[in-house]
Amino acid sequence: MSENKKEVLLSLEDICKYFKVSGGTLKAVDHVTFDIHKGETMGLVGESGCGKSTLGRVAMGIYSPTSGKLSYKGEVLNLSKGANRFRYAKKAQIIFQDPYASLDPRMTVSSIIEEGMVIHKMYDEKRRKERVYELLEMVGLNREHANRFPHEFSGGQRQRIGIARALAIEPEFIVCDEPISALDVSIQSQVINLLHDLQEKLGLTYLFIAHDLNIVKYISDRIAVMYLGNVVELASSDELYQNTLHPYSQALLSAVPIPDPSAEAQKQRIIISGDVPSPINTPKGCNFAGRCPRACDKCRESKPVLQEIVPGHFVACHLVEPEK
């Protein structure tokens, strides 16, 4: 949108996050590389267990990556050190999925929103109270709500409190981890509009994690599709929907039911059989090979890497060759 769009805000380089579990190693995020540009919304989609939330938490600094490099505005972040982590937390915040579990039931709304400012020693007490009121109004609540407790609010209102809390310390980058999937349809659009307005007003950068593909397409500038810890396709949102190249993305997009009966009747749905395999001890070839309708021997032998097929459109698949 703006001319500084190409300025890289956060860059993830070969990020891996493994968890040791009893059955072996769980590769939640496996060699993921991409940049997030300043002021854009980067969508991250995939089915449950594909590692999208883990990646969001790595980008936020909640998890430190097993290997790989995370840099913010060109500066390498060493988040294993507490002081660095603390400084980065001032810039990166998160909005959680479940507005019921993410707010402390024993804190008032004003202390929930104020807490971040207290921790980061921002403003004096009087100014902080004013900030709380400002934030409440910014997210569409009233200042009277400040002394209430979370249980007095509906799901949509709670999500607004979560957004106000994330905004309190004036971050530049916000990870939205499925912020609307727990909300009703009519409330979802309220929250989406709010996030959109705040982005324009405050120049925020979002990493928007979701499984609802229609919403992701609507809100994102670019979208990364994840499958079993890998990014399989990455493109601008229009390009991804018009020129879907990876077989998994194709199946994923065709599986989304459209709220239009005649379009539904005409649609050729690609149904992929089976379930997402376990991310523990993944196969040596392409992770999707077991479910892919077009898998060949090469797919079972070696892992495809993400390569640029069309400018700005990256795909990790042996069957998709770059145009020369």
Partner: protein, 341 residues
């Protein structure tokens, strides 16, 4: 389509359901009327708390009474009066005449029993089959829902199944006695999109095979568009609009239905267009408003909407909506002084 509009299997007439709580009487369902015909898919759509699940549970009488009460209305399944049926009679019906698929298959299967055994239980309860035959029947049911290696799978416990497989096992169990009515309460909400597509495909296939009537309860209008024959839109305990799938998506008349459809981003939506959102939140059913329940959030709200509940107006054959705007004496938009929204 094996739809038979003359063969009514279920009829719900002016059903009211209330829950007595410490805070007072919650009027969860406030006058719901619909019929269900053989081989038909009726979708009930609405937001959480609109009473769609309570309606479904009342058809099976799964709500504990008290605190639930049915102050008014009738539910007739075949020739059985459900409202006045005893628990013993209900036990004969559940699973045999009407069965249900729930949202979360993990909490609905017994974790301590093998999947096959749970299905056998239902078959033995309702038919005079011996255990050996019932076992064979259970395996047949599992293969009907496309579970690979059904013999082996029947010997496993629910935790060994994945989410999609568990939902298939639930469907197998629900269909084991060939019920006339199948209630699917948010059957795909807990599943991923690719698995959702598999399950919806399966439900459509089963509908063709066994010709059961399906009540599909969901909040996902995409799922409705791909499966339903008829749709009932619920809001605050009432059906505000009902009609065929095309009526609801293309010729909708109630402002709530219109707002609900507009609040979804369309496939070719531009980022610059704002989503239409419905301001406010649904009313508290402890103290439902005197007039139209949607009045407070409606952009067309008139004086009468706050005072009196709108009656049902017929728009076309089988297409009705409850809104004062449809009254023949209703002033036009210019006369009401509304700007084109």
């Amino acid at each position: 389509m094996a739809k038979d509009m003359n063969n009514k299997v279920l009829s719900v007439d002016n059903l009211h359901v209330s829950f007595d709580t410490y805070a007072g009487e919650v009027q969860a369902v406030r006058g719901v009327t619909f019929d269900l015909h053989q081989g038909e898919v009726l979708a009930i759509v609405g937001e959480s708390g609109c009473g769609k699940s309570v309606t479904a549970q009342t058809i099976m009488k799964l709500n504990p009474m008290p605190p639930a009460r049915i102050p008014e209305g009738a539910v007739t399944l075949g020739d059985v009066d459900i409202v006045n049926a005893s628990e013993k009679e209900m036990q004969k019906l559940r699973g045999k005449e009407v069965s249900m698929i729930f949202q979360d298959p993990m909490t609905c299967l017994n974790p301590t029993k093998r999947v096959g055994k749970q299905i056998v239980e239902a078959i033995v309860h309702h038919t005079h089959m011996n255990r050996e035959d019932a076992k064979a029947e259970a395996i047949k049911c599992l293969s009907q829902v496309n579970i690979p290696n059904p013999e082996e799978r029947a010997q496993q416990y629910p935790h060994e199944f994945s989410g999609g497989m568990r939902q298939r096992a639930m469907i197998a169990m629900a269909l084991s006695c060939n019920p006339k009515v199948l209630i699917a309460d948010e059957p795909t909400t807990a599943l991923d999109v690719t698995i959702q597509a598999q399950i919806m495909d399966l439900l459509a296939e089963i509908k063709e095979q066994v010709n059961t009537a399906i009540i599909l309860i969901t909040h996902d209008l995409g799922v409705v568009a791909s499966m339903a024959d008829r749709v009932a839109v619920m809001y605050a305990g009432k059906i505000v609009e009902t009609g065929t799938c095309e009526d609801i998506f293309y010729r909708n008349a109630h402002p709530y239905t219109q707002a609900l459809l507009k609040s979804l981003p369309s496939v070719d939506a531009d980022k610059k267009d704002r989503l239409v959102s419905i301001a406010g939140s649904p009313p508290d059913l402890l103290d439902p408003p005197k007039g139209c329940a949607f009045g407070a959030r409606c952009t067309h709200c008139m004086h009468i909407c706050r005072e009196e509940q709108p009656p049902e107006f017929t728009i076309g054959e089988g297409h009705t909506a409850s809104c004062w705007l449809l009254h023949p004496d209703c002033p036009s938009a210019e006369e009401r002084g509304e700007k084109d929204v």
